[in-house]
């Protein structure tokens, strides 16, 4: 069945890719898709008693790298790293007391020369060669399953005279206040594979099947109680976040073309992180004066996949010393191990308010995660973090100030420019260097007691919001490095939107190199084959050993330009 679906979807994708955007432009131009009664007594605009509406867009994305990548033999500078087409259909159906929502999205990518090059490397590093995972290399970016196509489908209705509002079905539930990073926004995982973190959250959040309740207790207690249960009806692929470990264009350097799924597996049946087990949460929302606040508890999956290491000849081959320990149960993958999403409990508080004295909005969020899992150990191997999983109490804190700058009289913006500064800190309580905790398994830089990110953004709007530049920057205060985004969106009438974006990175010079680069000394002075018992002369797919490169160093060579062309309907 899956294959059948896949073939249908691939055919649709062929029709869509690069032509779809333009093919749809006239089909929907008359705007007669919506069935809306032409009366002046109905409520109109949204939610007629019995009506339906379809809207959406067809979009193409083109990404062009600005630098050469060590992993590939070709010069990748100015190569297309992404050529993607998306059709999104947003359907609203109103049937009296129940309203329905269906958000379907079909993604298809053209395999650019750059992606072809990565696929060829993948074929070389995959244990199964061409017949292995590399054979379906583009599947990581394409829509291949009906559950991927139907991203959201749910019903809304009210009970007890509107006291209890319910949303049942596959949906996105967002808690928390933070931008860019997640403190309480942990109900869902994110798919970072196709665009890392540059898109709107709703586009790469992974929807889940939830029964979501909102109980209005304003009359009784001055607030509302939102609670949900995820009964465990989702696919294994739908929980946790994806970090492109397939060796695609957003796996950190130097792993482009290294398909970790060829020698590791995602395991969503782990005893401490089973998809089948229900997850749930409660959140109380209220106000004290004009200060809005929420208090929440959430049981969910750790968003970052954790390596539950195998103890095998393969791990030994890469220098893991055999002291690694599994997390609750042995890895099912006997080569290198399993990626698992252990359950975590999160206790959170958020608050927001307007400070008239500085004409700014202040927001704060604190999330306490007892026993949050981290990979640790084996820092001197090719597989740092493969020592196992250690649990540490963790406190995540966000503080943000938003202000609107009235720049119109100086630079001609047509409305105040929303600008924001946010500090986001992750504090590992009882941190010890001897724990050898890493940010992400396979990178040897130790995670510090505090990992703090400072981000700023400002949005500008010109000519009645038809020219919209935006600037975003972020830096890792603990480890150095950062990112910057400069983008401008052009609005053409009701239908066309064009966005040009530069995604830029800077780092402090730390870098994990590929094994083909014979550079560095000491810890870095690893010629091929000395990692463990890897045969001399064998190219090490895991690159040189390195213990300093942190998050923004991983993407230091990924400066790029992205063009998005959207035709709305």
């Amino acid at each position: 069945m899956k294959k059948y679906n896949s073939n249908i979807l691939k055919t649709m994708g062929f029709l869509l890719c690069f032509g779809g955007t333009f093919a749809t432009s006239s089909a929907f131009a008359d705007g007669h898709l919506a069935s809306e009664p032409s009366c002046d007594t109905c409520t109109g605009g949204y939610g007629e008693e019995w009506s339906w509406q379809i809207s959406g867009y067809a979009r193409t994305y083109f990404g062009m790298g600005l630098e050469d990548h060590e992993e590939t033999p070709e010069d990748d500078k100015f190569d297309l790293t992404m050529a993607r087409a998306t059709l999104l259909i947003d359907t609203d159906i109103y049937t009296g007391p129940v309203s329905w929502k269906i958000v379907s999205r079909f993604d298809r990518e053209y395999k650019t020369d750059y992606m072809d090059s990565l696929q060829r490397i993948t074929a070389g590093t995959s244990t199964a060669g061409e017949a292995g995972s590399s054979n379906n290399y583009m599947d990581q970016y394409n829509t291949n399953h009906l559950q991927e196509f139907f991203r959201e489908y749910y019903a809304d209705f009210s009970l007890f005279d509107g006291k209890l509002n319910m949303r049942v079905g596959k949906q996105q539930l967002v808690w928390g206040e933070s931008d860019f990073f997640q403190a309480m926004d942990l109900v869902h995982g994110f798919d970072y594979r196709w665009r890392l973190f540059f898109e709107n959250n709703e586009d790469w959040r992974k929807p889940l099947f939830l029964v979501n309740f909102d109980l209005d207790l304003y009359d009784e207690l001055g607030g509302s109680l939102n609670f949900f249960i995820r009964p465990g009806l989702d696919r294994d692929d739908d929980v946790g976040s994806n970090y492109n470990i397939e060796g695609g264009r957003w796996i950190p350097h130097p792993y482009r073309g290294v398909d970790f799924t060829a020698f590791t597996d995602y395991n969503a049946d782990h005893t401490d992180g089973s998809q089948d087990d229900p997850t749930f949460g409660f959140r109380w929302n209220s106000e004290i004066g004009s200060i809005g606040y929420s208090v929440a508890f959430l049981r969910t999956f750790n968003p970052t996949p954790m390596m539950n290491p195998a103890n095998s000849a393969s791990t030994a081959l890469f220098g893991v010393d055999g002291t690694q320990s599994h997390f609750s149960e042995a890895a099912e993958n006997g080569v290198l191990g399993d990626w698992i999403y252990p359950h975590i409990n999160v206790f959170g508080v958020s608050a927001n308010g307007y400070a008239q004295a500085i004409d700014s909005t202040l927001s704060a969020e604190v999330a306490f995660i007892p026993n949050k899992p981290f990979n640790f150990g084996q820092l001197a191997s090719d597989l740092p973090g493969w020592g196992g999983i250690i649990e540490k109490d963790t406190l995540v804190t966000m503080f943000r100030i938003d202000k609107e700058f009235k720049l119109g009289r100086y630079i001609g913006t047509n409305r105040p420019s929303l600008s924001s500064v946010q500090l986001f800190d992750t504090w590992i309580l009882d941190h010890s260097d001897s724990d050898e905790i890493v940010e992400f398994a396979s990178f040897g830089a130790q995670k510090r007691e505090h990992t703090a990110y400072l981000t700023v953004f400002t949005l500008l709007n010109f000519k009645r919001d038809t020219i919209n530049p935006m600037f975003v920057a972020g830096t890792d205060l603990s480890n150095g490095g950062g990112f910057g985004i400069a983008a401008v969106e052009f609005v053409f009438g009701d239908d066309w939107r064009v966005k040009l974006e530069a995604d830029l990175w800077w780092n402090d010079g730390d870098k994990k190199n590929t094994a083909s680069d014979n550079i560095g000394s000491g810890f870095n002075n690893q010629t091929s084959g000395v990692g463990g018992t890897l045969a001399a002369g064998t190219s090490n797919p895991l690159g040189f050993r390195e213990g300093n490169a942190s998050l923004f160093d991983w993407f230091a060579d990924d400066n790029q330009i992205v063009l998005k062309v959207t035709r709305q309907f």
Partner: protein, 425 residues
Amino acid sequence: MYMKILATSVVSLGLLVGAPLSSIAEEMPEGTIINAANLDSVIDMTFEGKRVGDMLPGKYEWMIRNHHLAIPVRHSEPVPMDEKYMSWTQKSKETVKFNPTDRTATGWTAGMFFDPQDVKMDDPHAGDKLIWNLRGPTYGATMDLRHISWVFLDATKGMERIQRWWAQRYYMEGRLDGGPISEGDGSIMQKTVLVATYPQDIKGLGIFQIRYNDPTSKTPDDTWAYLKSVRRARRLTGSSWMDPIGGTVQLYDDWDIWDAVPTKYQSTKLLGRQWIFAIAHAPLMTVDLTYKNTIKEFPAVGMDIPPHFFPAPQVQWEPREVFVIEGVPPVEHPYSKKTVWMEVDYPRPYYGEALDQNGKFWKSFIFQNRRDVGDDGYLSTMPVVGHIIDWKAEFSTTWSSNMKANPAGVEADDVTLKKLISIAK
């Protein structure tokens, strides 16, 4: 001698009577369309006894001569307000107090704060009092801005794009819909939800605003913006009441031409009282969804006639007597001055103008109004089309709506942040 006096008196009487008679202007016939071609010939005519030129306030004449504004004229007709509204206005005389020190009005329950018949031209606080009247619930306790769309209109190119929204405003005070006059704990004056439904890139973008019942305006508005792209409501600053609505050229403060209570402004001043041509009987159908996404959807706007953003030829203007009130907004406001021409018998703005921070003419506001009977029988007069014209850019965002007063079934819980989030899906 007596004969001489008598003769002189007769001559004088003849002069007294004869002079006005000789200068009585020709009455302009009903149905005349005042435009650039005939303005010089009709400007000194009278209509309903008033000189035509005197009924062209502010930039009217400039718009007629230079920008093709055409004014089809009809006879005026009284527009009675709801009896409950008028009787509460009389009761207010006994309870409402204006406090000159802080320009606040206290003791108000419903109706107008101040009977406009009692407002004297030489009252230094006349402007404040009349604007207080405007900021009570003037056209019902609940306003449903049904089918509201902002159409982006370029003076040269015509329709550029459409933004469709869903909006309701719910007054917590001064309600005359048969239910409680005051709801809640008395701390909130009104709540507003405004959500975009089209096109796709702004669908689900909306605001929820609470304006508190604080006559001093020291308590800032609470405003949240819901951003569907991140599925999260974000608190906005308390000064967002003076921000533009979406990408339009209309500020939230231009809602009803003047949305701020007097104490949000530095000062107000009653400039005078005059008769103007205004639109008090707009067409009953102002959004026709049978012609969705075409200019025919908006039959009260002349989108096919350059400059594309004035009232359509079918819309008739009539003489209305108005107060002319000028306000000076706070320094951070985009305008340095705003002037409104508002009906004398009740607070219904017909026309407005705004100056930029350099004191130069920037925008004009032409609002089309008409009678409406609420679902509860409440009799009101309300704006159904608002032409907000940015003259620097020669561009307008003109909204049209099948506005409805006191829609049945809408309660305070229906105009909330939760409601915004549920709509903006």
